[in-house]
């Protein structure tokens, strides 16, 4: 059963230097508060896993927390580049960043395999692209019935997965709705998990389209109101598109980025 603890305690207990950490949330429900707590606790050498690194990974990378990034689309959605990610890859600042790169379909299926207790997933993907040339984690596999050749990718098994959700009940059952992305799979694929929530309520009244994650499948729950900002929590907030646009300027320059992080996060 998941214990409900403070965000600082949860990150302190669950996230260790050198861990493979997945913060998921597909545009919606991105766990910014948890990511920034990881920065405050100065974790190092993390392997960051995420389909769409987004601004939160730009911050983690720019603050030197990451050694490696496993991802499928590393941009600022609707705006442009993630400048801290680019600076790390192009110039090694503040430290070099190793990349393992996939397609969305590949990453999604890697989480599915992890959640399913399988060592790999099969998809129609990557064929003819230059992606398989850059990682050993994309390989051909033959159908034992038809002989057709498809693509296999290994399961993702993060040490910790972190997601944000609308709410939990007092037992630690979690409910999220709206665009629910790959969060169920990310949590079930991980060895440990943390869910931050907008609020804790007495009862999870059913909501159309909601995913419920039972408390016994989670490790820790922490309350973090508005913990997805500048992403959003459907029914609680809207996406702060202005912030995403503003981040382009804030993050372009190393000094301005560092000053902003010192003022707003540390």
């Amino acid at each position: 059963m998941a214990e409900i603890v403070s965000l600082a305690d949860a990150v302190g207990e669950l996230v260790r230097d050198g861990d493979a950490v997945a913060l998921e949330g597909f545009t919606h429900l991105i766990p910014f508060a948890a990511g920034q707590e990881i920065i405050r606790q100065r974790r190092r050498d993390l392997t960051l896993i995420r389909m769409t690194p987004d601004v939160i990974y730009d911050q983690l990378i720019g603050m030197g927390c990451a050694r490696r990034l496993v991802f499928s689309w590393g941009g600022n959605p609707g705006v442009g580049s993630l400048h801290r990610l680019r600076d790390a890859v192009e110039n090694g600042w503040p430290r070099p960043l190793e990349l393992e790169e996939h397609s969305h379909a590949g990453m999604a299926n890697r989480y599915v395999a992890g959640a399913s207790g399988l060592p790999f997933a099969v998809l129609r993907g990557y064929v003819g692209t230059d992606l398989p040339g850059q990682t050993a984690n994309i390989r051909p596999i033959e159908c034992p019935f038809t002989g057709e050749v498809l693509t296999a990718v290994p399961a993702l098994r993060p040490d910790v997965s972190v997601i944000h959700a609308q709410r939990a009940d007092r037992q630690g059952n979690v409910q999220l709705w709206g665009i629910t992305g790959v969060q169920k799979e990310a949590v079930l694929a991980a060895k440990r998990s943390l869910v931050t929530v907008e609020e804790v309520v007495d009862e999870l009244t059913p909501v159309p389209g909601a995913v419920v994650l039972p408390t016994w499948a989670l490790t820790r729950v922490a309350v973090a109101p508005n913990g997805a900002h500048p992403s959003y929590a459907h029914g609680y907030s809207t996406r702060d598109n202005d912030f995403y646009v503003a981040w382009d300027d804030i993050s372009r320059d190393r000094d301005r980025f560092t000053a902003w992080m010192e003022t707003h996060v540390l």
Binding site: T27, G74, S81, S103, L123, V127, T129, G181, G209, R239
Partner: protein
Amino acid sequence: MSYSSDEMMCVAASRALRDRTVCFVGIGLPSTAANLARRTHAPRLVLIYESGTLGAKPDSLPLSIGDGILADTADSVVSVPEVFNYWLQPGRVDVGFLGAAQIDRYANINTTVIGGDYRHPKVRLPGAGGAPEIAASCREVVVVVRQNRRAFVQRVDFVTSVGFGTGPGDRERLNLSGAGPRTVITDLGILTADPDTCELTLTHTHPGVAVETVRAATGWDLAVAPDVTTTPPPTPEELTVLRQLRSP
């Protein structure tokens, strides 16, 4: 009404979408064009965003592919694994809409790295996202991209998404089920993959654009159809709806 070359590109892209078809939409120009189509000639166009929103009907343009307006207006919101596995992969989608940082003669697309080598690129781009599988599995693909020599190159620095590979027969050899990026719509004109050679061939120029201008904006010796025609200019309705979409 006067209009910009970007508006012409967007209108031309929207016209490529037929009513009652299913369209897999990326963010930016593709989303704008698809919503323009839905608000003009294709009211029953079905939009799928990779965030899992099937049948989204946004009133204003989302900034991201995961804005709340998409979930609020969708027929169904499914998980991200489901949208790729159950909806895209089996070939249920009629048209996939893609952008590109680089595109070559055989419509291969690069959105990964430019210059240097993969580990030490000159420019690190966002990467693949949903594009490789959209390019592989949609019944057909429409690419929307501004045309210039930086983007239209002899050979892409990195194949993120396969167009026609190195030419005829390659898609079949790779077992890609869709017909591929047969149409490329730019701010200068429209290019179509030649059915025999698979080479992108200029078939339309937008009003006021000379064939020579398009050639000059292309990094290879661009094939030109014998009967290049002029794209009809945006209608006042198209422009009005487009501008409303952009600043609601």
